[in-house]
Symmetry: C3
Subunit: 210 residues, 3 copies
Amino acid sequence: MAGEAKSRVSLITILDFIGTYVFALEGAMTAASHGLDLLGLMVLAFATAVGGGILRDLLIGAVPPNAVRDWRYGLIAFAGAGSVFCFYPFVREIPAGLIVMLDAAGLSLFAVAGVEKALEYGIHPFIAILMGGLTGVGGGTLRDVLLAQVPAVLRTDIYAAAALFGAMIVAAGLSLKLPRLPVTICGAVFCFLLRMVSVWRHWNLPRLLH
Amino acid sequence: MAGEAKSRVSLITILDFIGTYVFALEGAMTAASHGLDLLGLMVLAFATAVGGGILRDLLIGAVPPNAVRDWRYGLIAFAGAGSVFCFYPFVREIPAGLIVMLDAAGLSLFAVAGVEKALEYGIHPFIAILMGGLTGVGGGTLRDVLLAQVPAVLRTDIYAAAALFGAMIVAAGLSLKLPRLPVTICGAVFCFLLRMVSVWRHWNLPRLLH
Amino acid sequence: MAGEAKSRVSLITILDFIGTYVFALEGAMTAASHGLDLLGLMVLAFATAVGGGILRDLLIGAVPPNAVRDWRYGLIAFAGAGSVFCFYPFVREIPAGLIVMLDAAGLSLFAVAGVEKALEYGIHPFIAILMGGLTGVGGGTLRDVLLAQVPAVLRTDIYAAAALFGAMIVAAGLSLKLPRLPVTICGAVFCFLLRMVSVWRHWNLPRLLH
């Protein structure tokens, strides 16, 4: 187990760091657009980037959470905040489409990593899928709560749903004892594509009509 | 202990499931009235139904929380969301009085279950009473925070206070080594009646005048 | 360890109680100024006074958190709420300057206590510093979230930054194996002075210009 974990470190960890950085960028940009100060940028970058993973870890009993145990996540989150603070004129020129794509990539990665970790901790697959979704959207939700706004994820778009579907594929595949790597990749790619297509086609979840 | 727990399973668990379903209905109806989509209904149903118990479990060190360990609570919460989504025209016709009554029943049950669990985990009775109150009102509070509103429980009515009084009776009774079942029933009935009477008579907690 | 802890009890604990009481007063006064009822005062007093410590304890894996394990913190928080409720005409006449000073004292104490506890639990110094900051500002943040407001700490003033700098001094000093007591005092005094001077001179953190 430890050996397997170690052999997976290089790629998974690097992807995880990239996802953390992208989410931190988004958190800091949201903070900047709300006129918060440098500390506000740092807090929202941190909350957005590692909030989902921290909530998941608290709920599955993996304490201290990964982002508390491993200082590199905090450092990467602050690097994201610093990037926005120092290079805001450049960062704000990043095309919206690229941000949506990077964000979808981070979402996919967090969702599949979240469901896998929950399953490793012996959580029932149904709840593990929810934990995958929480890992993907928890950070953004925390950011919106701190900004006293209804979390965007509750209102619009196929976002959390994409994370849940991706996590579902992983949970199903691992329950069927399929090999881990292809299952993980399938889940992440499906989540990514569903998210991108839903943005492109303006898909939304059904809603009640009053 | 395990034997006693098992012998209590049938009734307590069924009551707990009913309370979860009622709270989930309320969460989903609030989500619907705020124009959230299907996922929003599911999230708010889940948060309202199991949020209080999850917060209590995190605070008393019972991790993973019950609602993460036992997938049936999540399923029931989503069943509540599904009921509202599929049968909204009917659900919204449920008389307000019935909802207030069911909600008071759920509140009572959660409050006494919460204080008992905290005491079982060796928490001091004073704090255990607070944990009982938190179990009762934590879910609704979380729901209101996610909707970026000041939690209703902080503003009006004898609601949390009823939960706290019910929990107090249980904590006092168990400290006096009175038999568990009658003490539990007394606490729950007192909480329920206090809540119903306060709605009926428009009782409120005192408030400062400026 | 236990011996050392016991020998430190008297002073540290008393200071901690005082900080808890001051923060509880502030929480209850905020609740009163928002027109909340007695229960609202109690909840916000509790959240403000012990929320930061509870969040820190959950994150570093010290469960149940101190304020759940030791009922005296809850009692002190409620005493703060009671003081505001019973003596509001007097409490509201407390000069703003005195409140700012007491608050700065509480902030300093919480920040250095927070970083020390995190280090004792084997948390990396970088994250421990963040935990010190969280201990200082987490309660006020939770209070603002419950009031559906953007936490003041994200928007203005050198407040969290003072807590972080104080915590940084403690973490640096203890990493260099300097004696604990002078290091702790240095960190707390620096945090206190930085906070007071920044209020006096209207210092703010830098902010992006659009």
